[in-house]
Symmetry: C2
Subunit: 151 residues, 2 copies
DNA sequence: TATTGTTATACTCTATAACTATA
DNA sequence: TATAGTTATAGAGTATAACAATA
């Protein structure tokens, strides 16, 4: 077993998980970007588009487009912001809330289907390696940002 | 340690790996879709656009656009297909081949940075779980396809 | 008649820049 | 003067449908 084959499998698994999410989205008539926004609103509650832009790491202009689409599909509404007439609060409709619930439930179901059969020791060992790997990628990217951004 | 937290970490790691690849692409003036095409041509050798469309899982029309971009950036050329005047063979230029080499090397370097420190037993255990998980996602998607596609 | 690739058209995600209304 | 959001414009990825050239 080599580091390279571990990375290969990790990337393959990534591809499969994305395909699985894509199917949910297609079923719901959603896209990845809109689903992500919906998810954030579900977690954070009614949010300004500025806040969503920051949370999603995209421009405010982009959020305008995503929210337009989600308003058209009936997943969210723009409510007036009490206390700031410039801003709007993107708010889940019943359909939007139901969709988010489906996401949460799907996540739990998927986790159980993938890892529920592992005995606690194997699961813990696996999760530990994932955690270490996250740390290492983070460190790597920080290092490259230092070296690459140099000016 | 719960199945759900394992999935959370897996998804977090996925996000980080994508960000890492995105930086390489930005450096090279490439996009994810074009890099993927380049990668496939690097592995398969000169290919028709039909073959690339099948390999990438996109429409032939889409491949036309991707190849147009990669021709403009100097990564590939369209060479006449010997024996079929309808078809063109998408072929790596020196720049394209160099870029693919960089990808391969980056992959190996990344794998080593992420997993090189693990002792063989932990690495094997981790890789095993990844393999099992891949199988489970595959089975899951096949099952859903059966149930969902029913008509 | 079937296949390869392209033109035509459309939708989505993304970005920058300029502008309006409000703070 | 600064902030929230939109209009304007542009590039990229994706799709379907119609069409040309060639098999």
């Amino acid at each position: 077993m080599t580091p390279s084959s571990a990375l290969d499998r990790l990337l393959e698994l990534t591809t499969l998980l994305q395909a699985d999410l894509a199917r949910f989205e297609k079923e719901q008539g959603l896209t990845t970007a809109r689903t992500h926004l919906l998810w954030v609103v579900g977690r954070s509650g009614p949010s300004t588009q500025q806040a969503l832009a920051a949370a999603l790491g995209v421009t405010p202009r982009n959020v305008t487009g995503l929210v337009d689409g989600l308003v058209a599909s009936g997943h969210v509404t723009r409510e007036p912001h009490p206390g700031d007439r410039r801003a709007a609060l993107v708010t889940l409709t019943v359909l939007g809330a139901t969709t988010v619930d489906g996401l949460v439930e799907g996540h739990a179901t998927l986790a159980d289907a993938l890892f529920g059969h592992l005995d606690p020791a194997r699961l813990a060992a696996f999760t530990d390696v994932l955690g270490e790997t996250i740390d290492r990628v983070g460190a790597l990217m920080a290092a490259e940002a230092d070296g690459g951004d140099e000016r």
